[in-house]
């Protein structure tokens, strides 16, 4: 019951808090409100793993480097400059002379403390543990940060760890249990978090002392919604000013609203099929119940040939994607993107796929379904997808249709996300599964998800594999690119790895979904995506969009008369909201009780 009133009070506070802001006179704080359909998992950057949390932390804290707004290549952030020893094992970063938002100077000590904390405290590894795995030691003197590595690592300049203020965080006892809910937060980035109401909003004020200069708006708010439909309505009504990561149907629902800009640009994600090609554990013992036919590269190639990617893009993604003729790195990353050409390129050709299967001895039975060459099993595969994802459902319908023409029966298996992760990442109880990855400017992490070492251990501990792939050639190339500090040469090696994934087909890339967003042009005057020419607003790999965002100044349209209306409306809104919240909170309380 107490929970109920707390929730109710919070909603009323929220409504009261935001309503007058809309009705204020010119000279009022410039506020930009961003919607999200995910809630914060933690305000503690050592623990937060969700995209929404890492975005907010990106706006709050500085990093060693930041992807350049134009080229996405690493550029200086808190580290002004850096040098590498000839063997590539010692990196020295010169930390910028600047202050934390509480006035304390920022030194290399802070960075060293952050990395050392992660290296020594397992609790601090939750969010970005792999980033320090290769660190041998980190030390600081003045503004100089020295990192010694165990082995060369080319992705050093794409370090995802926010630098934390030592003088505040060293007082924290158990970092794994710390929720970091102290406001205002002490930060070094463009914004300072000043308030967080769980599952409702996070408010960030501009950091006046930010070394690049304060942002052009005064306040940035992140408003959380339960589901995308509610968030879209929120954007249409003007409760929020920007909403990212839209599904194609939601994006199309924004059509025709004169105040909303539909943002449709290339994305940083690849959608692909993960094929159980004979999953093994990290000690090379078979695991799971994958269909034996999928071990045959010819079958995988036939499946690849039977997929009309352009049709998938048109029908499943409403045309808002790019068919993938490459692999898991999307074309946004021009330096690393690879696509098949000429002979190697696999284009939709069911007849050819059938020929391959006929030649390999998979004979069609009376029911039109093929059997293994030794007649032991029919070619009946399961396709694992998530529950409640219309797009994946539709995708499954198309694959089922095409594979049927190959004489392969496909049945769809819908799993909730934790079970899905378990069956496709650890226990290998799948044949074909949907998969995808949002790729960072440095593709090392996504490439690593196909390494032998990422396979689960014999005891079933997940290692984060995306394919159970283990291929000597791929491993070797991976080690090579790690040591290659020349960006062009490294990109060449990475392209060979992508080619290997394409031809061996443990994963089959389907398409690269576009980045679909919407923002209100009556509220946001300008916003720069990352990368600048054709990129992402929310969820991108840098703080640029929300650092450069400019709000519309409201002294033009609003007249004095409308204020009363707005205030009355806000009053009614508060009452309605309170009522709705009352029922929602009560209902949610009920559900929570059920679970206990």
């Amino acid at each position: 019951m107490r929970k109920l009133f707390a929730g109710l009070a919070a909603v009323v506070l929220l409504a009261v808090g935001t309503a007058p802001a809309q009705a204020a006179e010119p000279g009022k704080p410039k506020v930009v409100r961003v919607g999200a359909t995910q809630a914060m998992d933690s305000m503690n950057p050592f623990l937060a793993v969700r995209l929404v949390s890492s975005s907010i932390h990106r706006w709050m804290y500085g990093f060693l480097t930041v992807p350049d707004a134009k080229t996405l290549q690493p550029s200086p952030d808190l580290a002004e400059s850096w040098t590498t020893s000839p063997d590539g094992l010692t990196w020295t970063f010169k930390i910028r002379q600047t202050n934390w938002s509480d006035g304390q100077p920022l030194t290399a000590e802070d960075a060293a403390w952050t990395f050392n904390k992660m290296m020594t405290d397992d609790g601090a590894k939750t969010a970005n543990g792999p980033a320090v795995e290769n660190f041998a030691s980190v030390s600081a003197s003045g503004q100089d940060l020295t990192i010694k590595l165990k082995s060369p690592q080319a992705s050093m300049l794409d370090n995802p760890v926010p630098i934390m203020p030592k003088h505040v965080w060293e007082k924290v006892g158990d970092i794994a249990k710390y929720d970091a809910e102290t406001y205002p937060a002490v930060t070094s980035g463009p914004y300072i978090a000043v308030e967080h109401k769980k599952d409702q909003y996070v408010k960030l004020k501009a950091n006046p002392g930010y070394w690049r200069g304060a942002p052009k708006i005064d306040e940035l708010q992140m408003i959380f919604y339960d589901n995308p439909a509610a968030a879209v309505v929120g954007l249409k009504k003007g409760d929020i000013d920007l909403l990212g990561r839209l599904a194609p149907p939601d994006f199309e629902a924004l059509k025709g609203d004169g105040n909303i800009v539909q943002w449709n640009q290339q994305g940083r994600r690849a959608t692909y099929l993960q094929i159980n090609h004979g999953a093994t554990t990290s000690d090379n013992k078979p695991i799971g119940d994958g269909h034996p036919a999928l071990k045959d590269p010819k079958v995988r190639q036939a499946l690849h040939l039977a997929i009309d990617k352009q049709k998938l893009v048109d029908e499943v993604q409403n045309g808002l994607a790019k068919p993938a003729d490459g692999s898991i790195v999307p074309p946004m990353y021009k330096d690393f993107f690879w696509q098949a050409e000429g002979e190697e390129k696999i284009s939709f050709d069911v007849a050819k796929a059938n020929q391959i299967l006929d030649a390999a001895g998979y004979k069609k039975g009376a029911d039109g379904i093929r059997t293994m060459p030794d007649g032991s099993r029919k070619l009946q595969f399961r396709f694992s997808i998530h529950t409640d994802t219309p797009i994946e459902d539709k995708l499954a319908e198309y694959l089922t249709g095409w594979f049927k023409d190959l004489g392969i029966a496909l049945t769809t298996k819908r799993l909730d996300s934790s079970k899905f992760t378990e069956e496709t990442g650890t226990t290998a109880l799948f044949d074909i599964a949907i998969s995808g990855w949002s790729v960072n400017p440095d593709p090392e992490e996504v490439l690593a998800t196909h390494l032998c070492s990422r396979r689960p251990t014999a005891s079933g501990e997940g290692g984060g594999t995306e394919s159970f792939y283990c291929d000597p050639q791929y491993e070797q190339l991976y080690q090579q690119q790690l040591k290659e500090l020349d960006r062009t040469k490294r990109a060449g090696i990475i392209k060979q790895m992508l080619e290997r994934l394409y031809t061996d087909a443990p994963v089959i890339a389907l398409y690269y979904p576009n980045d679909l967003e919407g923002y209100r042009k009556d509220r946001i005057a300008s916003i720069t995506p990352i990368p600048e020419d054709n990129g992402i607003l929310y969820g991108g790999s840098g703080y640029w969009p929300f650092y450069t965002v400019e709000a519309v100044t409201t002294d033009t349209a609003e007249t004095g008369g409308s204020n009363t209306g707005v205030i009355v409306g806000a009053g009614i809104g508060v009452i309605v909201l309170a009522g709705v919240a009352f029922f929602l909170v009560r209902r949610r309380g009920g559900v929570a009780d059920d679970r206990e």
Binding site: E315, T387, P390, Y398, K404
Partner: protein
């Protein structure tokens, strides 16, 4: 032999004469026969290919036209053909789930009514427990655990909807067993099996028929609900069509045909089953009959 046959024939004719008196029941029966007939003959005209997205060549969400008399869905498939083919899944699941629920309900109901001791008490408590379980939630959880196939959906609906049948059958069993001829039969050496199958079962059968007919209606609705909530048998049914219309924004794009057609199909068939069931109940239930 011939005597029993004449008797059965006569009682059947009497039943039909009674049933005919219920206009609504006759209408319901007619609708049902047409629906079942259509579902059965569907394979003579079309095949599962009409639900295959790869074969959907029409325009997306196109309004009714000569090519697609009831419009098309988000992948250009004809809504008319999909509804026709989907009726097979919906009706099959409806009938089989009702049958399963009837079998479980009858066995447990008779056991609970016949064995008055602790066995009856235990069975009754179990029935009560299932009765208070929110059946939709239970079916959802069951279907989610068992995975999506026609069988699992049937099982999920069947095992959650039997308690009311069991309750009904138990009450009727108690009433039947209170009659003197049961006592006479026991005295003549009739065992549990003889009494339950030869005396109780035939007496509860009419009631069971009526109850099952109503059960089919609710099973079809449950199947559609489950499909709408995302738990389906991977086959086109009326429920999955409604789900599709919701997922692909038929309402916002004004594609009324996509929502209305499967919805009306569900309403019509469920209504028909209900009308039949009510009519049967009035004809067969001795208590309702005497009240008339």
């Amino acid at each position: 032999m011939s005597v029993t046959w004449t008797r059965r024939k006569r009682s059947l004719l009497r039943f039909w004469a009674d049933y005919r008196g219920h206009k609504a029941g006759v209408v319901g029966l007619a609708v049902l026969l047409v629906a079942v007939l259509l579902a059965l003959i569907a394979p003579l005209f079309i095949d599962a290919g009409v639900t295959n997205v790869v074969r959907g060549t029409g325009e997306k969400l196109a309004p009714p036209s000569w090519d697609a008399p009831l419009g098309t869905d988000e992948s250009g498939r004809s809504v008319l053909l999909m509804v026709w083919w989907g009726s097979r899944t919906s009706l099959l699941i409806g009938f089989l789930a009702a049958l399963l629920s009837m079998v479980i309900g009858t066995v447990l109901g008779i056991v609970a009514g016949h064995f008055r001791g602790w066995i009856g008490a235990v069975v009754l408590r179990v029935t009560d427990w299932f009765l208070v379980l929110p059946s939709l939630v239970t079916a959802l959880v069951l279907a989610a655990i068992l995975g999506g196939s026609t069988t699992t959906i049937i099982v999920a609906i069947g095992v959650t909807s039997w308690p009311s049948t069991a309750r009904l059958i138990r009450a009727q069993t108690l009433a039947v067993e209170a009659r003197p001829y049961i006592e006479r039969s026991t005295a003549l050496g009739g065992g549990h099996w003889h009494i339950t199958t030869r005396h109780v079962l035939p007496n509860v059968a009419p009631l069971l028929l009526a109850s099952t007919t109503l059960e089919v209606a609710s099973a079809i609705v449950t199947e559609s609900t489950l499909a709408f909530l995302g738990i389906s048998a991977n086959k086109t049914s009326w429920g999955t069509m409604l789900r599709g219309s919701y997922d692909w924004g038929a309402a916002t794009s004004g594609a009324w045909w996509y929502i209305l057609v499967p919805g009306l199909c569900i309403v019509t068939v469920v209504m028909a089953f209900t009308l039949c069931g009510r009519a049967l109940e009035t004809v067969l239930n001795p208590r309702l009959r005497s009240a008339r």
